[in-house]
């Protein structure tokens, strides 16, 4: 028998050493410390990144490593190519430039937002290979298994001379990315907004960081979670009243996450008014996994909210958050520490309810935000909008939902996963459809699965202007279908309902109309909103909330 070939067991470390030597030979870092002059960034990237590398480019809903992304896109495709990109969000034009310019060829990601149309075009032209579309937690999980980055390009608020990083309120994905990269032979490069002699606090220790570069301008942050109360409609107020009375109150939902949108913003703004009148203060909405929505300010100020852990921060909310450290997670320095991985974990396992919106829903309750010509991805919704089979701790809401779904002797509970939609979107596009666009998109993408955001069997309730459908109480696929048709309003799907079956479901409390809940739709007016403008939110915050200029009209 042949003796086994000798194997080198530290090839990653040795490879890392060669990359650092290449940088040092160009006079970058090494003995000179970790600080890279801004005009040498392309030299650095071309020295430490190799063709075929897996590169993580930090960027999510809020914070973006935009300078490093643009620098990478400006590198020479003859030197850097066939990169496999792993990143939470494909949001910036430069993210797509990497593929159009031939630097990168493969992409694993979670969400593509505004670049969805360009991404779809690249896929059709076969200029990009999409590995998979993930939820955030899945993607972070894979960073520690089979998608560990060779190089991570991250964004921090500040660095000191040693290379310690302060991340500020927008900590977001950085800890997960850095941990996976730094401890598996990878290289971590941080763009920073400022250099400080002494950091307010250390979020990433210097020995996990290889290089820092002072970006020419502060990293971009998108105010994604700001909703102007002035745009909330009476129909949204009506749906919010139904959700509060028919779901929040009935299940006693204390721990929850809200999706982005005007529907959930309306609920937040009805807590100090409508929910308080129903005597629900202290009984619902006390603990949140939520970005710091400005529309939550009135509920916080009214004493509804005990605790909020955030995925990231929100533009203009930092001073308010610092002044409310009993509610938000803040450091000794006073500023918030967010963390997407931990908040998503809270959203998955510790929340009793997720409520969000969607663009399309089919008759099995599957929903999708993917429409033809746009590959948008999922973000965190499928994670929080799913019933985790690994959960073992009980709560009243979880037990009640479990008993409705599985009977009085249920050995498990059930997360409440609520989809809240008006039956028509703008331009009379029906939300309820026979077939999701996701199926056609699957063919275009050549994907293994249609991009379904929330699976129908995870959905517990649907709220529309017509009423609430409780899918937990449905016992057959036929009942589910009629329950969905029964709240689908005047969409073609809704008008094709079996009226007798729907009335039967209503008699059994599976479908409930506003009047069944004791709600008079005519009382659904904007007067019920605790704040009716951004200026009202500023007033509620005692002047601490500083909205971005595009939300100011005074």
């Amino acid at each position: 028998m042949n003796a086994p070939l000798p194997r080198q067991w530290d090839s990653l470390r040795q490879n890392r050493g060669r990359r650092l030597e290449r940088a040092a030979s160009l006079g970058l870092a090494g003995k000179n410390g970790k600080e890279i002059p801004v005009d040498r960034i392309i030299d650095l990237l071309e020295a430490v990144i190799q063709p075929g590398d897996r590169v993580c480019l930090e960027g999510n809903n809020q914070k973006q490593a935009d300078f490093l992304s643009e620098a990478l896109a400006d590198c020479d495709p003859a030197r850097i190519n066939h990169l496999s990109m792993v990143q939470s969000v494909l949001a910036l034009p430069s993210h797509v430039d990497l593929f159009e310019r031939g630097l990168a060829s493969r992409l694993d990601f979670s969400f593509s937002g505004p670049q969805g149309a360009r991404l779809a075009k690249l896929v059709q032209e076969q200029r990009i290979e999409i590995g998979s579309i993930h939820t955030y937690l899945e993607l972070f999980g894979r960073y520690f298994l089979d998608l560990t980055p060779n190089v991570a390009l991250i964004a921090a608020q500040a660095a000191d001379a040693e290379g310690n990083l302060y991340l500020g309120p927008n900590t977001e994905d950085t800890p997960a990315i850095v941990e996976a990269t730094a401890f598996k032979g990878g290289i971590v490069i941080a763009q920073v907004n400022e250099r400080l002699e002494k950091l307010p606090r250390v979020d990433v220790p210097a020995d996990w960081v290889d290089f820092t570069v002072l970006a020419p301008k502060p990293n971009y942050i998108e105010p994604l979670f700001t909703r102007d109360p002035a745009q909330i409609t009476e129909v949204q107020v009506l749906m919010a009243m139904m959700a509060i009375k028919g779901i929040y109150a009935e299940y006693g939902v204390t721990r929850l996450n809200h999706g982005i949108g005007f529907d959930t913003a309306a609920i937040e703004l009805l807590l100090p008014t409508y929910a308080a009148e129903l005597g629900l203060k202290g009984n619902i909405c006390t603990h949140w996994a939520l970005n710091p929505h400005p529309t939550l300010i009135p509920a916080i100020e009214s004493g509804f909210v005990e605790s909020v852990h955030c995925f990231g921060s929100e533009v203009g909310m930092d001073a308010y958050i610092s002044a409310r450290s009993d509610v938000f997670f803040t450091g000794a320095d006073g500023s918030m520490r967010s963390n997407r991985a931990f908040s998503q974990t809270a959203g998955l396992y510790a929340c009793d309810m997720f409520i969000g919106s969607t663009l399309q829903m089919d008759l099995a309750g599957n929903s999708s935000t993917a429409t033809l010509g746009r590959i948008t991805g999922f973000g965190g919704a499928p994670n929080m909008g799913s019933d985790p089979h690994g959960r073992r701790h009980a709560s009243p809401a979880w037990l009640k939902a479990g008993r409705e779904a599985y009977g009085p002797n249920a050995i498990r509970g059930r997360k409440l996963v609520v989809q809240m939609v008006e039956t028509f979107r703008e331009h009379m596009a029906p939300v309820f459809v026979e077939e999701l666009d996701a199926w056609q998109l699957q063919k275009v993408m050549g994907a293994d699965l249609p991009p379904i955001m929330i699976y129908g069997d995870d959905v517990s309730h649907i709220v529309t202007e017509e009423g609430i459908a409780n899918l937990l109480l449905c016992r057959t696929p036929e009942e589910r279908e009629q329950a969905i048709r029964g709240v689908a309003g005047f969409t073609p799907v809704g008008m094709a309902r079996d009226k007798g079956a729907v009335e039967n479901l209503r008699d059994r409390g599976i479908i409930r109309r506003p009047e069944d809940l004791g709600i008079d739709p005519r009382l659904a007016t904007r007067d019920l909103l605790a704040a009716r403008s951004v200026k009202d939110l500023v007033r509620w915050s005692g002047g601490l909330y500083a909205p971005p200029s595009r939300f100011r009209n005074w």
């Binding site: 331009h427 009379m428 529309t464 202007e465 739709p521």
Partner: protein
Amino acid sequence: METLNFQFASAPASAAADPALCGVVGSGNLEILLNAGDLPNQCVVEIKTSARGFAETWQAVIGAFAAAHPAGGTRIAINDMGATPAVVSLRLAQALAEYQGGAQ
């Protein structure tokens, strides 16, 4: 623009008061003027809408309103700028309530 006319049987509305005006003509919204009509058991509706091709949906929305509410003896004029059925139903209910002086 498209003009649509419908007439539905409906239980008589209670004590007619002054005409009621509800909503505004703005994108995604509509204006409803509710007057006393000539036929006590009929709800007569004229719609002027910027969105063409939704006659069937209007018929269903107004029909459901006339069946669910006592709207007989009324004449309803609607100026629509692409309101969704949810908004239309809500405004109709508001207009009828105002017309009846909250008698409903």
